[in-house]
């Protein structure tokens, strides 16, 4: 009789053993049964290893992190720093509060001549706004090209609208009037898409051009962004 090895029992455990009669043989033989039960007990320990819950917004976070890569044509993704994660405003009231705080810090730092604090915050704010504009551009281009405007687009528009309002306020607070104006202009089509996408939304070509120009110009990793660049 062929010797039954532990590897045979592993295959049996995973339902991959060629010998269909092996299960019966194990069941009939007390020693094999004991060995098989021990294997089951050991492998069941693996099931105790849990995976953390990434949260309901994982997909949205992944997409937001990908957007600069897709627009910029770079292939190496940037790893987010803790500060960047904290600054991510969408889907998080804490993040929203943090963004407002950073915008205020930036403003105050500028006033109090402490440029390092202000510049870091400013740079991160600029990077976030750039990513937001790339994402907005994707949606607006889709609509302008006659793409579908259903629940998917409406949901995205609602998300972007929330971000847009936060960024607009932060830009205005930190003295970036031009970008605040652009974000203000973007708000209207986003609002229409979020609330009533079926009515049809016309996207002004010049607005799309401005968004595209701005997002193309500014899309780069935060640590590569020139802090002195006007936004």
């Amino acid at each position: 009789m062929k010797t039954i090895t532990d590897d045979d029992l592993v295959l049996l455990y995973y339902g991959e053993h060629d010998d269909a009669a092996l299960a019966q043989q194990v069941a009939r033989d007390p020693e094999l049964s004991r060995r098989f039960e021990a294997l089951c007990r050991d492998l069941s320990q693996l099931d105790e290893l849990t995976v953390p819950d990434p949260g309901p917004d994982l997909g949205a976070r992944m997409w937001q992190r990908m957007v600069p890569e897709l627009a910029g044509g770079e292939t190496t993704p940037a790893r987010e720093s803790w500060l960047q994660r904290l600054l991510r405003p969408r889907f998080s009231l804490a993040g929203l509060a943090m963004l407002v705080l950073v915008a205020s810090m930036s403003f105050l730092a500028g006033r109090q001549a402490e440029p390092s604090l202000g510049l870091d915050a400013q740079r991160l704010l600029e990077a976030r706004i750039s990513e937001h504009l790339v994402e907005t551009e994707i949606l607006l281009t889709h609509v302008a090209n006659g793409g579908s405007t259903g629940a998917r687009e409406s949901e995205l528009a609602a998300d972007l609208l929330l971000s847009n309002r936060i960024y607009r306020r932060a830009a205005a607070t930190s003295g970036q009037g031009a970008i605040a104006d652009l974000l203000n202009a973007v708000e209207r089509p986003l609002l229409q898409l979020a609330n009533d996408p079926d009515l049809g939304v016309s996207i002004d070509d010049s607005l799309l051009f401005q968004v595209r120009a701005r997002s193309r110009r500014d899309t780069r990793h935060p640590n590569e962004t020139n802090s002195s660049q006007e936004i």
Binding site: Y14, A38, L39, Q45, L49, L58, W63, T75, R152, E153
Partner: protein
């Protein structure tokens, strides 16, 4: 592949980035879980998933339309996770991070349960990339040896041996802690 996935990937290939976004939203949780099994670290898993989706986006023109987009992205995620492990040489980091991951799970267990859990995690961390991949895909993802071999670009026997080695190492690690009946 579902009709919806088929439509989405067709739209994405045609340049509709919103369609690809929908795929990202839909598939991210499964890819994260898979990547986390490989890396043992949530932040690293997010990096792997992000990188995998970017690769998938760039490779969209090469996607075979009769294939499953989920399987395709799953495979890209596996390869990205293995690249990550090789690149980062994360064994020590994995072990530390994994200990953090299971902290919540172990706090309400009896002492011997905690010890077993730590040994299990440690044993997983000490596996080679191929062994870890083979055992993860077999045990947690329920893939057949043949499927795993195709994913990892191994011959089926080599893949089977990798599973055997992984199980042996796990059992050796647990042996001092688990009472023999």
């Amino acid at each position: 592949m579902s009709t919806e996935d088929q439509q989405l990937v067709e739209q994405a290939i045609a340049g509709d980035r919103l369609a690809f976004r929908t795929l990202v939203l839909k598939l991210s949780p499964d890819m994260f879980r898979l990547a986390c099994r490989f890396t043992g670290d949530a932040a690293a898993a997010e990096d792997v998933v992000q990188e995998a989706f970017i690769k998938a986006y760039e490779k969209l023109p090469t996607f075979k339309r009769d294939a499953s987009v989920r399987t395709w992205i799953h495979r890209i995620t596996v390869n990205t996770a293995m690249d990550h492990l090789r690149r980062e040489k994360t064994r020590d980091r994995y072990e530390r991070a994994a200990a953090d991951l299971v902290d919540d799970a172990i706090t309400e267990r009896p002492a011997d349960g905690q010890e077993i859990l730590r040994h299990t995690q440690s044993a997983m961390a000490k596996l080679t990339e191929v062994e870890r991949a083979a055992l993860t895909l077999r045990h947690f993802e329920g893939h057949s040896i043949a499927e795993i071999a195709a994913t990892l670009d191994l011959n089926p026997n080599a893949c089977k041996q990798a599973v055997f080695r992984a199980v042996r190492k796990l059992r050796v690690a647990l042996e001092p802690l688990v009472a023999t009946p």
